[in-house]
């Protein structure tokens, strides 16, 4: 853990009835860093973020944001944070510019409504009611509201959940811009692509625990640099011989594909071709992919993120 970090989380635990949502979560986020909490639904991401936002109290452990305790620092804490919550709404009959005006009025320092409307592509919707906005527009408004006080720290809880790919890319661009502004951002996601594209560092969370933490690159390297070779063959293999090919550490099947995890890719491919000739089999397709965070999650938990 780095001292002087903008966000510090130490041994956080939280229980909801019989469910242990957080079981000793610890991490630190540095100034200007985009930090991702990656994990499946129910992993404990939202509980962690909501404790950091001051919306929930932990059962034990401690958190600090810009040196402030979210529970006891009151308005001083609220001035330095901005948040786009996962489950939230505005009154249906509130207009877009009114929402920005209203939320801006709560802070001594604020960004102009016009500036935010322009930046988030909402100028044409400035007089629209909240109920008239599409999902993407609502999310852009949520982000604009999170930035209305020009915060030092921004919390984005599943900012692209349920949005179509184009809107998701628009949100990515906005986060990239915030990154350039050196905002400290904590985002939660269960999209691998999002974590890899946006985050400087990622904590993989599962069952209320951080099971891996580092830059996406570090995590991939730490995973043993296992490369995945996806193979489809004309005739199915039944004797398990693929797992014994040179360099192959593991072999899984997924529908009609065989996933070979290899530490020595060229040798594995040569061995695979020889094996196919011996078996009088044919190669239909072959795809080589460098290890992704999805693979790391799979390696660590034996499950896929969406399982």
């Amino acid at each position: 853990m780095l001292s002087g970090a903008t966000i510090e989380v130490t041994n956080l635990t939280k229980r909801y009835g019989d469910v242990e949502a957080l079981r000793g979560v610890s991490f630190a986020v540095n100034e200007g860093e985009v930090f991702g909490l990656l994990g499946p639904n129910g992993a404990g991401k939202t509980s962690t973020v909501e404790i950091l936002e001051g919306l929930r109290t932990p059962d034990s452990g401690s958190v600090s944001v810009c040196g402030l305790d979210p529970q006891s620092s009151g308005a001083e804490f609220k001035y330095v944070i901005g948040a786009a919550l996962q489950a939230t709404a505005l009154p249906d009959k509130m207009r877009v510019h009114e929402a920005l005006d209203l939320f801006g009025s709560f802070y001594p320092q604020r960004r102009g409504t016009q500036e935010l409307l322009a930046r988030f592509g909402l100028e044409e919707k400035r007089n629209a009611f909240y109920s008239q906005l599409s999902g993407g527009q609502k999310q852009r408004l949520a982000l604009a509201m999170a930035l209305v006080n020009n915060p030092r720290v921004v919390f984005l809880d599943e900012p692209t959940a349920g949005l179509d790919p184009q809107v998701r890319r628009e949100i990515y661009d906005i986060v990239e811009e915030l990154k350039k502004e050196k905002k400290t951002i904590l985002l939660t996601t269960h999209y691998i692509e999002e974590a890899e594209k946006l985050c400087d560092r990622v904590a993989i969370v599962d069952h209320g625990k951080v099971i891996a933490l580092g830059t996406p690159r570090e995590l991939k390297e730490r995973s043993g640099a296992v490369t995945r070779i996806t193979v489809r063959m004309a005739k199915p293999e039944t004797n398990g011989a693929l797992g014994n090919l040179e360099g192959v550490t593991e072999c899984r099947t997924e529908a009609d594909d065989y996933l070979l995890y290899s530490t020595r890719v060229p040798r594995t491919i040569v061995a695979l071709v020889k094996h196919l000739e011996e078996q009088n089999n044919e190669l239909v397709s072959l795809e080589i992919s460098a290890p992704s965070l999805e693979d790391i999650f799979l390696e660590l938990t034996g499950r896929r993120l969406r399982d």
Partner: protein, 300 residues
């Protein structure tokens, strides 16, 4: 402190704007009270313009009591939809949120009151305006009291369904045994005794006395003090029990706190039942509207 006032004012303006766009709000806070006014005036037409102050005082009381219903429903809706939790990550506190509910509701009630007076004068030829200062103060304090009682309901109920059931029960009690719809002297003696424990009864009686007898504020002291006491306790309790999150449930013992808000009217009710003059004022005010009718009958 100025920060809290600033937040309260911003929220007040926003909530007034939202209310004006809400058809249900316009129906319940403007059209329904006016419908009552026209309905009463039609029913009591034969009593002539002298009856109008009595009828208007009942309609004013209904308008003021309407605050009880609207605010609790709005607050619970905001909580259930996750709107409140968005405010929670801002510097806005529970007090500013609740105070803005009360103030916006008050500002939105005043035009309806003014329209009711205007129609009573211009359409139903009401002669005087009663003691306007007393009416204004009763309307002001009454609006805050009934809105605070609404907030307390919102604070102790967990779902909209629960809120509406409790609201219905309390609302019907206020409506039918306070004198706001059925004149107090016409209620059975036992019901009158119970009625003396209700804030609505004192609001109705106070408005009738201010409208008909031109009663000044000094003479309404005990009524006003109880309404203010009830409002203060209800506001403090609802601020203490305020919940931002839909999944946070009201603790069971919290519901006991609500009893504190009833204390002023419990005391006033006991006093009124043994020594009070509300009953005699109610009879006198009602007789005052019967006189022309009785004289008319005698003449025939």
């Amino acid at each position: 402190m100025s920060r809290v006032f600033g937040h309260t004012w911003s929220l007040t303006v926003s909530r007034m704007r939202l209310a004006m766009r809400n058809r249900a709000f316009l129906f319940f806070s403007l059209i329904m009270p006016l419908a009552f006014l026209f309905g009463y005036a039609g029913l009591f037409r034969r009593f002539g313009p002298e009856a109008v102050p009595y009828l208007l005082s009942m309609v004013l009381a209904l308008t003021v009591m309407g605050s009880f219903w609207g605010l609790s429903v709005q607050l619970v809706t905001f909580r259930e939809q996750g709107i409140l939790r968005r405010f929670r990550v801002t510097p806005v506190g529970a007090s500013a949120m609740l105070a803005s509910s009360l103030i916006s509701n008050y500002f939105l009630t005043l035009p309806t009151i003014a329209i009711e007076f205007y129609i009573s004068r211009s359409v139903f030829h009401m002669a005087g305006l009663g003691n306007l200062v007393s009416v204004f103060i009763l309307v002001t304090i009454g609006t805050v009291t009934f809105a605070s009682l609404g907030l307390i309901v919102a604070s102790v109920t967990n779902t909209m369904q629960e809120t509406q059931i409790i609201n219905q029960i309390i609302w019907f009690v206020f409506l039918f045994i306070s004198g706001a719809t059925i004149p107090f002297p016409m209620l059975p003696a036992m019901v009158q005794k119970i009625s003396l424990f209700l804030p609505a009864t004192y609001l109705v009686s106070g408005l009738q006395r201010a409208m008909i007898d031109h009663t000044n504020l000094n003479s309404l002291g005990s009524y006003l003090a109880s309404l203010v006491g009830c409002a203060l306790i209800a506001f403090i309790v609802s601020a203490q029990l305020f919940r931002w999150e839909p999944e946070t449930k009201a603790p069971r013992q919290a519901k006991l706190w609500v009893a504190a808000a009833v204390v002023p009217f419990l005391l006033l009710g006991i006093w009124e039942n043994f020594n009070g003059d509300l009953r005699s004022h109610a009879v006198k005010n009602m007789q005052s509207i019967r006189e022309p009718y009785s004289l008319e009958r005698i003449e025939h």
